[in-house]
């Protein structure tokens, strides 16, 4: 029986439909202002892709901050368990998962059996998350593509000292005004996110294999900088943004046979 997982994040909503571990559909859309509408839209698209009707789904697990507003979900599970589940399924050697999304970053530790044994989340604000990177890109009048391009080792790192997204934005604006090269500023921004992520990861400890999930894993510059600072190779799945939804779908499959 096919099952579905849906991850309604602060920025993006994903749906994964599985049938016996085979992926029938995967959809990623922006969440927008109304998470309930986004959930319905993403589900509709995924059903169209898979050629299924809603009633054919045996079980649905919702995750992400918007999990509470999915009326059609049979069960709600946190991103912590879902990202852990999805990452372990893709690579059973994974012991640490770093999920950086739009407003949250999480570090999850897994047992050799894939069970969550510990986790930490960022503090209240969005510093060091995907949203932070987007605001900085906006301040530099550029896009995420340029923000993700790794720079040459010879490029210097501009100093971004403020943790607060609003103040960091004005810092970036003044660095531009002072004539600092853009790639130095971008490197500085990336570095500040890396620093925050590492201090979070150290709280629970990093054990190899380390996988990065969430949209920010697509940022190659950041991933490489993180690898360099940690001295550990990071695995990134083909679609890091959908790992939460994949985990949710896997949990749905387990529930369906219960």
């Amino acid at each position: 029986m096919p099952v579905a997982g849906i991850d309604i994040g602060s920025l993006s909503t994903e749906v994964v439909i599985l049938k016996k571990e085979e992926m029938l559909a995967q959809v990623i859309i922006p969440t927008g202002a109304n998470s309930k509408l986004a959930a319905e839209k993403a589900m509709k698209e995924a059903l169209e892709k898979s050629g299924l009707s809603f009633n054919e789904l045996g079980y649905i697990v919702a995750t992400g901050y918007g999990r509470v507003s999915v009326p059609f979900a049979n069960k709600k599970v946190t991103e912590i368990s879902c990202h852990g589940k999805g990452a372990f399924f893709l690579h059973p050697g994974v012991r640490t998962v770093i999920d950086i999304g739009g407003q949250d970053s999480k570090v999850i530790r897994l047992s050799p059996q894939g069970k969550v044994i510990d986790f930490v989340m960022n503090e209240k604000c969005a510093a060091g998350t995907g949203r932070f990177l987007e605001v900085m890109a906006h301040a530099l009048e550029t896009d995420l593509e340029e923000m993700s391009r790794p720079s040459a080792p010879s490029v210097k790192t501009a100093n971004i000292s403020s943790m607060c997204t609003v103040f960091a934005e004005s810092e970036v604006v003044s660095l531009v005004a002072e004539g600092h090269p853009r790639e130095e500023i971008i490197k500085g921004i990336i570095y500040s996110v890396v620093e925050r992520t590492i201090s979070l990861a150290r709280r629970v400890g990093v054990e190899e294999e380390l996988m990065m999930t969430g949209g920010v894993a697509k940022n190659i510059a950041l991933r490489e900088a993180l690898e360099k600072s940690l001295g550990i190779k990071i695995t990134v799945p083909d679609e890091p943004q959908a790992v939460g939804a994949l985990g949710a779908a896997l949990l749905a499959a387990e529930e369906a046979v219960k």
Partner: protein, 421 residues
């Protein structure tokens, strides 16, 4: 209970109503006539006790002093000085929903938002003339450093004595002597406040009351180990006022004894009735305080099968001592606090509590600005994990709801519950 007071009595009223002594006389009468309902008779007795203390403060006939958490209140009871615990009153103010008035008042006088909000709220209440100016500010240096600085600041502002008990970190014979000597000086200072001499029999009686309280608390704590014990952390917070101001009081031992008797009865009833309260799915230990504004954390945990069966502050941390040597008894109590001094002491107690109450996990509520409780969390976490006990840190604020992000707290709690499953 608070909802009742809030909706039926307070709605639309200003805090100034609570400066009128007769409000407390009325409140006491309502408690007595069962117009205000409590699930425990002992909780009603606690409220009555608290109201009487506060009534006396607003009446203004008896000398009254501010005491920081853990200052020895036995002297105050023996001298008939009313002790006022600003931290606990801030909690009460918060549960009534008035805290923002006071927080903003303190902030507008440059009292930083990085400081503990129990203190900010207390300070705001005093500088906005809600509380009468006390005759003295009495602080103990152990555990809460913020209280010492706040009291010192306020004492200078209002030209009142600042009475400090400097409690050393190590618990040994030298420390005992050092504290005992200070206690003698403190007695002299408090005699000045009371305008009378301290009679030895009175002090002995007060210390004897503390010992009786201790024994009754031990009885309660033993009963709470029972799988059918219904008393949860959220109920236990109702007795906080006694814990901070009631040591030495004549009334307080009876309240704890009543609680023990009530618990015993309720446990028996559950055992007899077949459908009695079943054991929860997960038993948890709570560390530090809880938010006192509407937050739903504890109810949410309960609704998901996780019950807070014990909280570290209810632990009886001091050993018995000869009440016939009152100063030593008090000094020993001051030096014995498990959250003070070496971290090993704190860890030992937490592990012991985890074992005694057979818990599946531990939650620490990290109150913004509280250094003593939030320091060393990493060490505590590691040693609990060695025992296979999951540990969750919830960041938030007990008083200032502006520092509380409910969505994030919920994800952390959900993640923790999934980890326990």
């Amino acid at each position: 209970m608070y909802d009742f007071i809030k909706n039926k009595i307070i709605r639309g009223k200003t805090p100034s109503m609570f400066r009128l002594p007769f409000v407390y006389s009325l409140g006491k009468a309502m408690v007595r006539c069962n117009l205000l309902k409590f699930s425990y008779r002992s909780a009603a007795m606690t409220v009555e006790y608290g109201m009487e203390q506060i009534r006396r403060i607003f009446k203004g006939r008896s000398p009254y002093v501010w005491v920081s958490a853990f200052f020895p209140t036995e002297f105050l009871h023996a001298l008939d000085i009313v002790s006022f615990s600003p931290e606990v009153i801030s909690a009460l103010i918060t549960s009534l929903g008035f805290q923002n008035n006071f927080l903003e008042e303190a902030e507008s006088r440059w009292w930083s938002r990085d400081n503990c909000s129990f203190h900010r709220c207390a300070m705001g209440g005093l500088i906005s003339n809600f509380y009468p100016v006390p005759a003295a500010f009495c602080a103990s240096s152990h555990l809460c450093e913020g209280g010492v600085f706040l009291f010192n600041n306020l004492a200078r502002r209002y030209h009142r004595p600042f009475i400090l008990l400097d409690t050393p970190l190590d618990n040994n014979d030298n420390s005992l002597l050092y504290v005992t000597r200070q206690l003698q000086k403190i007695i002299t200072l408090l005699e000045g406040v009371a305008g009378t001499r301290l009679r030895v029999e009175k002090l002995e009686e007060a210390v004897f009351n503390t010992e009786k309280t201790r024994q009754a608390m031990l009885k309660v704590n033993e009963l709470r180990r029972h799988p059918y014990s219904p008393l949860r952390s959220k109920d236990a917070f109702a007795y906080l006022y006694l814990y901070f101001t009631g040591m030495g009081s004549r009334v307080v031992p009876g309240i704890y004894e009543t609680l023990a008797a009530e618990l015993e009865k309720k446990i028996k009833e559950s055992q007899n009735s077949k459908g009695g309260e079943t054991s929860p799915r997960y038993r948890l230990l709570w560390m530090h305080l809880q938010p006192f504004y509407q937050n739903g954390i504890m109810d949410y945990l309960e609704a998901n099968g996780a019950e807070l069966v014990f909280e570290d502050f209810s632990h009886v941390y001091w050993e018995s001592w000869d009440p016939g040597r009152p100063l030593e008894y008090i000094a020993n109590r001051m030096l014995a606090h498990f959250n003070y001094g070496r971290i090993e002491r704190r860890i030992k107690v937490i592990k012991e509590l985890a074992r005694r109450y057979n818990v599946d996990g531990v939650i620490h509520f990290s109150h913004w600005g509280c250094r003593q409780s939030c320091g060393s969390l990493n060490i505590i976490r590691n040693s609990l994990q060695e025992e296979g006990l999951p540990f969750l840190v919830l960041d938030g604020d007990c008083v200032d709801s502006r520092n509380f992000a409910s969505g994030q707290v919920q994800t952390r709690i959900d993640g923790f519950l999934e980890m326990l499953a």
